[in-house]
């Protein structure tokens, strides 16, 4: 290893560790979701190999759930893949937004950590206090979330039903609580953040009544409308990031 030329740069292990720590709330949130996915996959008569395979290869919660219901409904392969694409096209926005904050890592490294982009890992990374997001931070964050997702898909499949229902129900709040925990500190400091989040929330709630906008499209559309219009209507960036 060459001695690092940058004076202020923290060591890579420190970033990696920060990423792993930041991934822990996601891991808690993924546990019940992945566990339930495993349960449902068994009910949908997938093999253990296929269940874990889907979590390993796709790593996208909502679309995996939808895939199961479509498999049960005997939908065709093309339909399944197209639905998955529509559900997950919103990652395009997150990837572009992350590119703005990410360090200039080599392409191959960006190609690797891009795989770990989910609603949750993106939200954590994008609201992290660091000015620049490093590759090792993103890898630490992504790998913690990913391992938890994969392992608990398998655990859910094998255990059938283990956790008491009331606990599973209450754990359903975990990911939302995390989103709230990421949003509130930023909102306390900036009216722009409040405007962005509340307008997107209202729009997405309205869109949820429109059948074609459920799921993927609604989130994309409400995010885009809010992010674009507030950029044009609200003067100045009050955020002190």
């Amino acid at each position: 290893m060459m001695p690092s030329p940058a004076v202020h740069r923290e060591e890579t292990p420190a970033y990696w560790k920060k990423g792993v720590q930041a991934g822990l709330p996601i891991a808690i949130g993924y546990m019940p979701v992945a566990f339930t996915f495993g349960l449902l996959a068994k009910a949908a008569e997938l093999s253990l190999f296929e269940t874990i395979g889907m979590s390993v290869i796709v790593f996208a919660g909502a679309s995996q759930y939808i895939a199961l219901s479509m498999i049960v409904a005997m939908s065709g392969a093309a339909e399944l893949i197209l639905t998955t694409f529509i559900m997950n096209i919103r990652h395009l926005l997150m990837s572009a937004s992350l590119k703005e904050r990410a360090e200039d890592d080599p392409k191959w490294l960006r190609a690797i950590y891009a795989f770990f982009i989910t609603d949750e890992t993106f939200s954590v990374a994008a609201t992290s206090p660091e000015k620049k997001i490093t590759g090792s931070y993103l890898l630490g964050l992504g790998i913690v979330a990913y391992s938890c997702w994969v392992i608990f898909s398998g655990v859910g499949y094998v255990m059938g039903s283990g956790l008491p229902q009331s606990l599973q129900d209450s754990m359903g709040i975990a990911l939302y609580a995390m989103f709230i925990a990421l949003l509130v500190p930023a909102a306390k400091k900036s009216k722009k953040v409040i405007a962005l989040a509340s307008s997107a929330a209202v729009l997405n709630s309205i869109f949820s009544f429109v059948p074609t906008l459920k799921g993927g499209w609604g989130i994309i559309l409400s995010t885009l409308i809010a992010a674009v219009s507030i950029e044009f209507f609200m003067k100045g960036d009050e955020r002190d990031e």
């Binding site: 197209l82 694409f85 990837s95 500190p185």
Partner: protein, 101 residues
């Protein structure tokens, strides 16, 4: 379908990976217009709003209050600047308590 299912899963994986990867690998940030950069910086906070609502209210489809209470607990904990993990655990705890009321 199960013969074919593994290939469908691979297809799902590919169409999921492409949008994740394209901007990160192919964009050249320096050439983006400042307005577009501003918009991209807005995305995280807008997306958080859209992810929370209306989803949080439907975690128990029969009782919107259930998700509402969990969200309120998380909001209060986050307002007190508690660590993210603590916010998550306390909202789980509050809802777990609520189910026994």
């Amino acid at each position: 379908m199960s013969e074919q299912l593994m290939w469908v899963i691979v297809g799902m994986g590919i169409v999921t990976y492409i949008p994740r990867m394209l901007p990160l690998v192919l964009f050249h940030t320096n050439h983006l217009h400042p307005k577009i950069q501003g918009i991209l910086k807005n995305v995280p906070f807008a997306i958080l709003g859209a992810l929370i609502f209306p989803g949080v209210l439907t975690i128990n489809p029969e009782n919107y209050l259930y998700g509402g209470i969990g969200a309120a607990a998380a909001f209060i904990a986050a307002w007190l600047n508690l660590n993210v993990i603590v916010v998550v655990l306390s909202s789980i705890f509050v809802l777990y308590g609520y189910t026994f009321l």
